[in-house]
Symmetry: C2
């Protein structure tokens, strides 16, 4: 079943746009890894929050993507810009539009 994942991460003050740029750089390889959606966004009332909404072919595809060299490199570059506060939500996608 398709797997949905929403991850909200807090950035160090002033580094939100840097984190967004890092997350968007690695997008090209995601489709081949089984990613259907990877939407990077920000929120109006919190200048230090980045949110990513993802849909993958399966949870296994998502989990394996974390081992890709480009994913690891992006995480290594982003981590110093993050506070370490993450909040994530998962779901098993049963249907809908665009999934």
């Amino acid at each position: 079943m398709p797997y949905g994942f929403v991850n909200s991460m807090r950035t160090r003050p002033g580094h939100r746009d840097d984190v967004v740029a890092i997350l968007l750089e690695g997008v090209d390889g995601l489709r081949a890894a089984g990613c259907r959606l990877y939407a990077v966004g920000v929120v109006e009332d919190d200048p230090d929050l980045v949110r990513v909404s993802e849909i993958w072919e399966s949870k296994e595809h998502h989990d394996r993507s974390l081992d890709l060299p480009e994913t690891k490199a992006a995480i290594a570059r982003a981590m110093p810009l993050l506070t370490g506060e993450f909040a994530s939500q998962e779901m098993t996608v049963l249907g809908g539009l665009g999934v």
Copy 2:
């Protein structure tokens, strides 16, 4: 800018699948209303939770969709099956894959 919305809703015990069915019935008209993604899902460790991840052309498209007759009808049918506990997250989508 594209607008992302994730809504988690608690169903009355045993009514999760009914709510999922109602949410999936109205999917056909969403694209014309400016919806790019409408993923309905469930979570492994909570049998009474339904989660919907949406991406729209804009926040205005999303807000206007709530006035569509089919949306109003679906909400009216689902409400008696819900406890009233909702948790939602918004974002302005800056880029990514599939958006």
